[in-house]
Symmetry: C2
Subunit: 354 residues, 2 copies
Amino acid sequence: MTVDTVKGYAIKDTNKYTDFELVEYKLRTEEADDITVHVECCGCCASDHHTISGGWGPLANKFCVTGHEIVGEIVSMGSNVKGFKLGQRVGIGAQSGSCGECKPCKTDNEQYCPQGKDTYNAVWYNGEDCQGGYSTHVRAQQRFVFALPDEISSEHAASMMCAGLTVFSPLLRNGAGPGKKVGILGIGGLGHYAIMFAAAMGAEVYAFSTSDSKKDDALKMGAKHFVNTRADKDFAKKLKGELDLIISSASSADLPLNDYLQTLGVHGQLCFVGMPETDWPALKSQTMASNGCYIGSSHIGSGKEAAEMLKLAVKHNIKPWIQTMPMKDAAKGIQALEKGTVRYRTVFIQDIDK
Amino acid sequence: MTVDTVKGYAIKDTNKYTDFELVEYKLRTEEADDITVHVECCGCCASDHHTISGGWGPLANKFCVTGHEIVGEIVSMGSNVKGFKLGQRVGIGAQSGSCGECKPCKTDNEQYCPQGKDTYNAVWYNGEDCQGGYSTHVRAQQRFVFALPDEISSEHAASMMCAGLTVFSPLLRNGAGPGKKVGILGIGGLGHYAIMFAAAMGAEVYAFSTSDSKKDDALKMGAKHFVNTRADKDFAKKLKGELDLIISSASSADLPLNDYLQTLGVHGQLCFVGMPETDWPALKSQTMASNGCYIGSSHIGSGKEAAEMLKLAVKHNIKPWIQTMPMKDAAKGIQALEKGTVRYRTVFIQDIDK
């Protein structure tokens, strides 16, 4: 039986972005490729805050139920769905749809499909609203529903669906592994995964932060080096040309970007996975010519990569550092994110229909 | 016999950057790895203009003899030099020295040596001045002296030493070849080589310009497509996700950079080889996340790549489009560069001691 009417914690006004209100709404109409999941828990991503506070622009719909780090059980499947079964525990991340026909879709790059649909704050192909996981149910195309290994608990798997995958993809694609030195910039939800995954992949990890407050944690996560960039103004000179790759999960663009670029070796890459609301500091050709480095962004990851990430997490027994709270406390989770006090991810536990 | 005292056309004041004056000066002291070349001809590069006009900052020495697209005959060799002979015709590009010991130097990336020395407007390791090829003689480490095939005339080879190599290296390193679509932005000295080389390498070339004035030329050079970006405001939408690589040789940073980035496919790269004097237009993570693209710079090329480029030029009978003038007319060459009237490179012919 298809679930249609569901409930979720919604924001209606970006000026009142902690005023979550329990609302009832209809899921978008189920299509043949769709899987509907009853939400067990959902991580609290910086995207949620950027979206509901209007930092990325106005809301796409009349109200917004955020949440795209979802774990739950399958309660309904369209007629085309294959390889899943009712009751199966699965995850859904930041994307819920793509065209399936374009070059990115056909080359395991569906996260770069120009017609891709975000899990929430999006309008589906048929004009209906897409709503997220601070709710009882979420609907997504089967391609964006990830089977979960038994070894990983739901609370741990939740934030892997966005935070984990978002850093795993560029680590994998840019060759993080033995013999490589990888810098991780911004030690939060994404960054703490980046440290753990990069270390598990065999890279030598440099964690960068603006204070020593996360030093012990970063070293426990697997960083070999910790650099306090405010205390050590000469860090870029000391590390000149040393790093192969930097993943920046910083949510602010107020960074000594030119310093970081100097720490890269020949053709090294600085890849943003954090999406600050403002422009990067100014760059010019000359700065980047001395080492021929590149700067760019990466957008979540593919389903294929999600499966590889989960395997790596099982193999190395990687567990995110999380705190849990009932979903009704979404405002508290968002406020903690804003204050930077989360260590290192909040996961909301279903409380609407349980 | 070592040549010590030489003559060259020098600029002494960046405010009077077309007041070339024939001066006599001492070459830096010959070292065991050095080759000294009697200059036959020398290309006129945008770097020459940026340098003598102060656009890249003050002069490094009391006067500056520019020119780093040099062809001439070997007149002297240090005791360590191997594989060259006196009287041999060779080329020298934009770099004349490197440490030889660092990781870039040991991995055919000597152009990224942190201790690398430019051919002119540089101070050598021993504190002496480095001067360039608008002169009778130039001295460089043997690693930066390139043997020239007989099939290429000196006038044609000259601008390959910088302009040619500077675009060939990022084309090669970023996979320009069959099945790849490569955009070339800025059709000048560098850009015209980029079109010819990319086409010869088998790529499908898109030439971008701000008017139609170079359209016929670009198509003759080998471009399959020509895009007038001012006339066609929607070019980025039409080409969304199409290109694998863009090489920008534009000497100005006043570009619709965000538009160009949208024309790249997944993880496509926009590589600057032109070195504008100002910052790039503002960029942010989101812009680059939709296709996971990268932007960066490339600095000339390696000796190994110079040899490959010359082979390609012979194989495909690639000839630069040049105009020649006597070296005493250096000011005219610089002025033509500034006005953008060069089609597509000026090469100065030795006239000081001939």
